[in-house]
Structures are given as C-alpha cells and as structure tokens.
C-alpha cells in the first residue's frame, strides 16, 4: 500500500515511479514527483521502484496568480 496525493493506493510489485504516474493517467514529462519528501528527478522516474509504504506527491502547473 502506498499513498498518492494523500490517498491510499495499491500498485503491482515492481512498478516504477514513471509507471505509477502513467497508471494514474498522466505524462511523466509534465509532472513533478516527490517521494517521501524528496524530489525524484525526472531523468530517474523510470528507474526508481515504488516500495510499500511510500508517500508520493505528484504535482503539475495549474492556473494561479
């Protein structure tokens, strides 16, 4: 079990962070990912494996002042 943007979620073992982003429905090239409070650089999204208990924040740009 992991947490994504505050919500619990299950993913298959061996899923990469890039895979997680795609599974949620977003393009890894257009988001930023924080894993357990540390940024996961975009260049390593496909290499870093999701681990049980991970806490993710996945963000992007939206309209704002």
């Amino acid at each position: 079990m992991i947490k994504v943007n505050g919500e619990h979620r299950r993913v298959a073992a061996g899923t990469s962070v890039a895979g997680l982003v795609q599974e949620i429905g977003f393009d890894p090239a257009r988001v930023a990912v924080e894993r357990n409070l540390a940024i996961v650089p975009r260049s390593t999204l496909a290499e870093v494996q999701v681990e049980d208990g991970d806490d993710y924040e996945i963000v992007h740009f939206v309209g704002g002042g």
Partner: protein
C-alpha cells in the same frame, strides 16, 4: 530638426532574460482556460504566473493549462501563492523546478488569510535559502524600501512590492514608498498585486517601475479580454510617460498660447 521621432526599443531583463512586455499576468480565477488563453494573448504578456498543485487523480483527462498556454511560447513563472512558511514555499518551488525545468520563480510567503500580506521575515529567509540552491527568485514583498533592500541583499533577482492587498483592486496605495524602492533597487522592481483598472497600472509605471504583475483585475473584469488589452496599453503608456519625464506641477494656471501679439 533635431527632434527625436523614433521611439527606441525598450526592453527590460531579469536574471539574464530579456523581455519586451512589462506586463506579467496571472492565470487564476478565469471562467475557462479558453478565456484565460485569450486574455493572455490580448495582454501581450511574455511571462505568466502559475501555481503548483496536486494532479487530479480522480480526473486525469481534465483539460490542462499547458494545453492552452504553451510554455514554449510564454515563460511560466511558478508562484508559491498559498504558502505560509519558508519551508512550504521552498518545497513548492523545488517541485516547480522539477516540473518546469527552469529556476526563475516567484516567491510569495503569506502571513495571514485576511490580508494576504507577505510575512517578510519568512520571505527574506526563503529568498536566501532558495538563492543558495540556485533559484532565481522574484520576490513578492511589502511596499517598504528597507524590506525590499533586505530581499535584494538575500539574493532576489527582482523585487515585487504590493500596490495594495492581493485581489483588492484598490490601486497603488503608497506611491511614495514604491518610488523609494525604485530609486534604491539595483534589480527590477515590479508592482505586484492591488491593481484594479488601467489607470492603476499606468500610475505604477509612471513611478518608474520596470513592470506590473496582475491577475484579478483582468480575470474579474466583465470582459477580461478587453481589460487585458486595456492593461497592455496602460503599462505601455505609463512607461512612455515615465521615460518622457512629466512636466512640473504648478499651483496656478499657465497659458498655453503666447501672450505677445494679443489684439
């Protein structure tokens, strides 16, 4: 004839990037992304502020800002609006740098919801930390010349004093201190927040500011696209008037026609 008839190009630059437009617009509060994009186009802005927020996990197919305002055509300036501590702001901007791939950002550390006034102690602290991490920080600050200098000393690449509280539309409340900030700063000064209508933007530019940043004045106008065009004209007019150098004020009348030769 020695009259200058051509208006020279008049660009400004921040952190080594040069811009022609002196109007920066926000992308919040619009009725739709279409209206937002049309207003940005009408404003002529080359920089737009954007927020960093969680992706909507329950609706990944929702339209995205980047589909309507192309980040390769317009510079996205990530903002920390909604952050109330240096740590929150720094965390947000680290994510923004990763999402966008650039380090030019806008820092805004707020003190309270009622006034949305910046917390300058936290703001200066965050400016220093972010600058050390390689960010180029444009800093939202109070209209206080000493605080503006503190931001600059902490590494700000631009200082952005408020004209009036965010979203208030009250216009520049303190022209005296804005002018003092302009006189003292070695980095660009942009009035950020408080503009309500075109004359407010022109007034800010006439004080010698390098630019104006606004969101609500355009987004909450009855016709945002028309107001965006008005703001573009106002910023240009204010800038030209500043460069031209206004006449001195007199207490009494002074005739425009010659007195000699009166019948």
């Amino acid at each position: 004839m020695n009259v200058q008839t051509q208006i020279e190009a008049d660009s400004w630059s921040v952190a080594g990037r040069s811009f022609t437009s002196r109007l920066i617009v926000g992308t919040g509060k619009y009725k739709s992304l279409e209206e937002n994009a049309a207003a940005v186009a009408a404003s002529g802005a080359e920089i737009v502020t954007v927020a960093v927020r969680r992706v909507n996990v329950s609706d990944p197919s929702a339209p995205m800002l980047t589909d309507y305002i192309d980040p390769s055509q317009v510079t996205y300036l990530p903002n920390t609006a909604g952050c109330f501590s240096a740590e929150e702001a720094i965390r947000t901007l680290r994510l923004a740098r990763e999402a966008g791939g650039w380090s030019l950002v806008k820092l805004e550390v707020l003190a309270e919801a009622k006034t949305l006034y910046p917390d300058m102690i936290e703001t200066v602290r965050a400016t220093e930390l972010l600058s050390k991490e390689g960010f180029e920080v444009m800093v939202y600050c109070t209209d206080d010349p000493i605080m503006a200098r503190r931001c600059e000393d902490a590494g700000a690449v631009a200082v952005m004093p408020l004209g009036a509280p965010i979203g208030s539309g009250l216009g520049v409340q303190n022209p005296v201190t804005i002018r003092l900030i302009v006189e003292g700063a070695k980095v660009p000064v942009l009035v950020d927040a408080g503009v309500g209508t075109a004359s407010d933007a022109a007034a800010a530019m006439e004080l010698g500011c390098d630019g104006v940043l606004m969101n609500t004045a355009i987004a909450e106008a009855k016709n945002p696209v028309l107001m965006a065009q008005a703001m573009k004209a106002a910023v240009e007019a204010g800038r030209l008037a500043y460069r031209a150098g206004r006449m001195a004020k007199r207490r009494y009348a002074d005739p425009s026609s010659p007195l000699a030769g009166l019948i």
